[in-house]
Symmetry: C3
Subunit: 485 residues, 3 copies
């Protein structure tokens, strides 16, 4: 007996420490493995053998945890996985939703905060991409989210139900706003090309989450009517149960379905009969506007930029979101610059290229926890920048927080098309870091001299050499030009 | 020695795994027991006996955890408990605050996010119900919260202190706004009936929490003055300590206290002397308005609906909250419908009935974690709806998120009275799913045909049969009518 | 073998319980040690010896946890540590950022929510204090945060870059707004005194966090340009790599650097050439205004209070922040009072004194978790107040939530200067709890009588004795006066 207890005690300590190691690791968001082992070392009461055992256990514990992490939805897990690399660039693997019907597909980007705490500022926004095959109908649905949609390719007609019904033609470059809860359906009326739509959604009921609701449905997707009890539906519709069941169960439409030429034609025809002024409450759906028909705010032979700001377009007003379209000529680049207030959510529509961003250096701990570890960083007064890099190709999404200097360039042989949603766009200013109008040129020369600790003339030579604005020749094609410098 | 270590090692593994099981279970919000056991099975290093031990431990661990869970405030616990069922309906057990004095009672509904992450959208709002006995005085108090109160029963007089004092009569159906921090007190001047008040509170200082502050008090509730040191109070009041102590300690008023007929009369009299225009900053307290005296926005022999929107009533403007009162005739129902933007917080005042809502299906994991498990759900593109059900009776509170189709019905022999606070009400639209004006009738017939995959005429027959609007005969009383269908 | 298993089983239980104890302790934020031990006691399967072992382990576990807590950034840890005492007062140890250059220093206060959940309401705000030595230049930087700065001491010139450049003189008492993302630099043009600036920051990209970005830099701080690849910079600047490297690597300016008399003079001169009307978008930077030159809203021989509200000053409008400066005469005090809506973030500039606040009593559990434990508190209907106390001296920061009664007093021989940022200031009202205009005097005498359960005349005598307003003689100097009372 006394003997057993002795062992207990011994194991007790061991056990005790391990629990501490593990739970502490869970509590503080630090590199667990490192910490777990660290604690093995500092246990005075352990002999060498025990310390080795202990460290081994850490390894096993952590290995196991990671495996499990995958099988079970756990935000913490996610973050730790992802953030070791760069949480600002998303590709296919980060699209969680995926509805594949024979006639098209719908992808939803993961929740931003599932990727990193650093994206908390846009937690409430989601990105979704819809592709509908030629001659198809996307069935009536409503969302518990505000929607801004951008037509990336194709021709369609969309119908939205409010007090009245309104139908609108959709062309490439169109921006259209669907207010939260409004039922809508649309067609791809092109007989040959897909209709591609990029959506920005802002949740209405659960922050960062949205849900879709269909009146019609079968097995899956279901009709939301079937969530009510049959006797309630009998009363609501004044239709006997058997009829209701037949009606709501038989159908298996799916979300995107084939439509006949006649159906397409008749659904398209409606767009002529749109009322000139259409009664919608302020800041909500109105006829679409075409972004590409706006006067480009930047344009030269290296690229063009189109922008629509919320103060000009009532569709964007209440969300405070701007939308922009950039077309970067092959081998060209966008000037390094930053936005003073807005967070950019960019979706690559086509082409190839690269993305670079300066991000104040994250300590190992904060890189995992997604927090700016003041303790470790600031105290030392350290200020360095993490080099964020991303390869850009169709379907890639990248995020640029306010204040963060970044640049984008097209590959030498493909131009690059990007649509950008700028969240928190009111009062936003673009600050250029190179080319005409760059911020350094705007400083007093003594300030430049002091700041750069270099004769003013020399600083000037550095920042005045590039005379283009916003779009420049890109990294891979100006060897010859340097000679002149 | 070597021997001890051997055992250690052995136990080490066992221990190691168990910690993992348990802590992992804590980390990922998954069905812990299931997971814990699952991990027992997958331990290669265990023999059968060990695996069995291990599973048994899981059982014990979990049992223990649940017991403890009850004794110790733990949001996690709460959620897991609740969300397995339906987090949208609250009854007595979900009222946490409970002040019972001889002269009345005050109940506070638990924090919404304590119930479920799905209610994060209304985290900052709280519900409280006050019942004051006949001829009572509710002592002066201020809250760190904005308050909208609705008089559900009885007659009173309320006094609010701002730059000046203002007194107002309160009748059944009155809606009154008390700005954050304003001290107020009120009386139930009826000598026979209780005064019943339903409050919606929006926190000012700590999101989702509010606190009450009383100048007068004794043991409990205390006077907030007693939180200051006596020497400070001596200086502040220019009154010696002994007098102060006697003054602030002796009294034991409680929160709701009996008042004499004379006191009631004199406190009531004041309402005549209210200034016509009363100086209050925009969007804040003004004289009450009576919801039931508004023109009903829906009314037929099956029920009546009264609504006050924030754009019409300055008291509601800055909170963006609408308030509605529904009286559903016995045996009648409300049309299945949804709100496009607002989240409904409904309090049943009287009667009996039922509540049904369609909620996009939550996976087992998300049902617990309160998160919409994108991983599991979306990837499969699954879209089904959870059937939310609730029995309604006096004091029950239910929540309806934006976009969620729902319906309410009264029992065959009791009419049902409900007061609703609609959070985020600006630009909200009600969409009807049955009866006149239902969304399906507003669609083009080809869209209906494609959507429901049924001949247009047939769809029309389904959705045109019910000719009433909003209030219908309910589930249990129209056998005969179906014949006609 | 059977033997080993027997032991396993035994230890199993022990282990099992301990894990439960520990992890439970982590899950529910309750006094862990207490809980851990509590669970030792309730283990039926343990004999006395085991129970004792078990409790000892709890002690060790907790000790260890605390030690570790210090080494590893862990919000949980922080809170538990801090909140046992008072989370509303911050001194030197709570400043995390610390940049010490030879020529000055920059301190950043820890994130409020790192201190306590109770401060969630101001999570998005941060406080920073800058001290620049005489004749120094603070190099060009931009923040991903909105900044309100208050000049606590000295004379400088600040330059902000927007579409154009604007330079402004800074004197003691000046309030200046720097919009998020705008690059700025400033000088201390005094040859003898330090320039002291207090900043309130509101994050733009990551809630509760801000980052700084410098175009110029060397090893540390780095230039953000160096986060881009050299080939990209070559293209952007049309400058060959070797020149770029030399330019961006050579410099080691630091953040605050010495400037020559000539440089200072020339940078100061610019202030004359400021455009009369300067093109800035609404609610953003404009010329500074001087708080101390406003008409004091309270003033007597015991102190003076200056306030600037967001509705009068466009610089404060979009942030909804008011700024106030209080100068309390030695031995005097501020009347106990509270703000109806705003949360006060106060920074002590100079002097010595004390702070007292009434905080609705937090249960032991909530004191740790920073949550208002409804379960335990409300159910009992208990309402008492925690006595919050703080010693005030230069550099101390304290927070006063809306609705919380508080008072501040100066020591008998030092006057006290405090600058206050009032977050959520729109429609805020000050309610006085003593002195002229106190809320009790505004109540009907019957209400006072009922509330204080004391004859009205007596209540009146208590609350009418102090005739001063807002500033009173303080705790330590009126023995004689009491005689008169």
């Amino acid at each position: 007996m006394a003997f057993k207890i002795k062992i207990n005690l011994n194991l007790h300590l061991l056990l005790l420490f391990l629990i501490t190691a593990v739970c502490l690791a869970l509590a503080s968001k630090d590199p667990e493995l490192k910490q777990c082992k660290h604690q093995c070392k500092v246990q005075r009461q352990f002999d060498e053998q025990q310390k080795r055992d202990c460290e081994r256990s850490c390894d096993e514990y952590y290995k196991m945890k990671k495996e499990k992490g995958r099988n079970y939805e756990s935000e913490e897990e996610e973050e730790e996985e992802e953030e070791v690399e760069n949480p600002y660039v998303f590709d296919d693997e980060h699209f969680v939703g995926q509805i594949e019907t024979g006639e098209g597909k719908i992808k939803v980007l993961q929740k931003f905060t599932q990727r990193s705490h650093l994206l908390r500022g846009i937690e409430n926004f989601r990105v979704s991409i819809v592709e509908a095959n030629p001659s198809t109908f996307v069935v009536p649905t409503h969302f518990d989210a505000e929607i801004i949609l951008f037509v990336a390719q194709g021709r369609g007609t969309i119908t939205v139900i409010k007090e009245k019904r309104g139908s609108f033609e959709l062309k490439c470059g169109d921006v259209f706003r669907i207010p939260s809860g409004a039922p809508f359906y649309f067609i791809n009326k092109d007989e040959h090309r897909k209709l591609k739509i990029v959506k920005l959604l802002q949740s209405t009921s659960v922050p960062g989450h949205f849900q879709t609701f269909q009146p019609a449905g079968g097995e899956n997707p279901e009709s939301f009517y079937t969530a009510f009890s049959w006797d309630l539906l009998e009363a609501a519709f004044k239709i006997p149960r058997d009829k209701l069941e037949r009606f709501f169960k038989q159908q298996k439409p799916g979300t995107i379905i084939k439509a006949s030429r006649e159906q397409i034609r008749s659904l398209s025809r409606h767009e002529e009969i749109i009322p000139k002024i259409w009664p919608f409450s302020e800041g909500e759906t109105e006829r679409p506007f075409n972004l590409l028909k706006q006067h480009p705010c930047q344009s030269n032979k290296f690229g063009r930029l189109f922008e629509a700001y919320p103060d000009e377009f009532s569709q964007l007003r209440d969300l405070g979101v701007a939308i922009a379209f950039a077309n970067i000529t092959e081998g060209s680049m966008v000037a390094p610059h930053y936005n003073s207030k807005s967070m950019k959510i960019a979706v690559v529509l086509d082409g190839q290229g690269g993305f670079q961003m300066a991000c104040p250096h994250l300590s190992s701990s904060s890189r995992r926890s997604g927090r700016w570890s003041e303790r470790e960083e600031e105290r030392k007064g350290e200020r360095t920048y993490q080099k964020i890099r991303g390869r850009l190709s169709r379907g890639v999404v990248f995020v640029v927080p306010a204040g963060h200097p970044f640049s984008v360039f097209a590959s030498p042989n493909h131009s690059l098309q990007i649509v950008c949603f700028e969240v928190n766009a009111y009062g936003n200013t673009k600050y250029f870091l190179a080319g005409k109008e760059n911020i350094v040129n705007k400083m007093e020369s003594i300030a430049r001299e002091l700041g750069f600790n270099t004769p003013g003339r020399e600083v000037e030579r550095m920042f005045k050499q590039q005379e283009e604005e916003f779009f420049f020749p890109g990294p891979n094609q100006q060897e010859h030009e340097w000679a002149d410098a």
